[in-house]
Amino acid sequence: MEIKPPVPIIPAPIWRNIKDLQEWEQLHQKRPEGDKHSAAFESITEGIHSFPGGFLVTAPADAFLNWARKSSVWPVTFGLACCAIEMMATFASRFDVERLGMVPWASPRHSDLMVVSGTVTIKMAPMLERIYAQMPDPKWAVSMGSCANSGGPFRHGYHVVKGVDRVIPVDVYVPGCPPPPESLLNGLLLLQDQIAQFRRTGKRPAPNPKVD
């Protein structure tokens, strides 16, 4: 009798049929390509980059600017819900984020990072958008916790924005309900990685696939 190896049955990717994910793909805002510098600065940099051997200037300049940016990411003090407690714990002495160069700052005009910590309600979303608009470029956003990622347990409620990425572009999603300070720290380190990979000129390298 012939023994056949079992035929693997690969299920169809049913997640593609889930309406919510399609909706998410359709609605979430991507981070715009590049920084919003002045057009003159952009054209000068492009000119130097396209000059023969010009990358020898722009690459170290990019590296230096990225190093400076990632070493002084100042998060704006902005707490929405219970995740803010964990965010405060992360900012406080035990999980000291100041050793990463992050100073929680109470003014959006001096900040680079918004940690969206908690449920974004439809009533709160315009204020969140406004605070994000008040931050100077370049700026980043970390979506912290299930509620900010997708609406979380309140997704099927009537009053919750189903993910903060429908309001502002998000760079790093931190899962958890709420994420412990270690998770948020990991997310902030991933964000620093992402900032360090940033290229204004030329092609942007693939982002670091490192997780947990």
């Binding site: 439809i122 009533k123 009537y158 009053h159 189903k162 429908r166 309001v167």
Partner: protein, 159 residues
């Protein structure tokens, strides 16, 4: 004021009120709750009766229930903190009706409760001094705790 005395007084004064009799165990000690359904016309009269004659001076809460075809039901709880008598007063507004008498002239604490009730169920309280939305934004359309409200109602630009 015991349970039985309160029942007798209510029976004398409000003939149309239905008193749901609680079990003997519940009525034995303190912390007993009388559940009373009054006609919608007697809503404020019953509240002032409960406050002045039954001594229920503490307004605990007010809310509403949507019973779909049978219409809305307004619920309020008032307590007599001295004797431990609690009265859960209810009234059925009837199908399609969303007007109710306000309790604010009797209990000042009913103000925000009834604003929330208006916000969530769309019940317009007659005699309320300042009836507008309290939790949702002023531009919100609909009343979300009604059974007829679809939770997926789009709310541009955020969902």
């Amino acid at each position: 004021m015991t349970h039985e005395q309160a029942k007798t007084l209510i029976g004398e004064r409000f003939g149309g009120a239905q008193v749901e009799s609680a079990s003997a165990e519940a009525t034995a000690g303190k912390g007993m709750t009388l559940t009373i359904t009054v006609p919608a016309n007697d809503w404020r009269a019953f509240a002032s009766f409960a406050k002045n004659e039954l001594g229920c001076r503490f307004f605990s809460f007010s809310s509403a229930v949507d019973w779909k075809e049978q219409g809305l039901e307004v619920v309020a709880k008032v307590d007599n903190v001295d004797t431990g008598l609690s009265i859960l007063m209810k009234t059925k507004l009837g199908p399609g009706v969303s007007e109710c008498q306000s309790l604010v002239p009797v209990f000042r604490g009913a103000d925000w409760m009834e604003r929330e009730c208006y916000d969530m169920f769309g019940i317009r309280f007659d005699g309320h001094p300042d009836l507008r939305r309290i939790l949702l934004g002023d531009d919100w359309v609909g009343h979300p705790l009604l059974k007829s409200y679809a939770v997926d109602t789009p709310h541009p630009p955020y969902r």
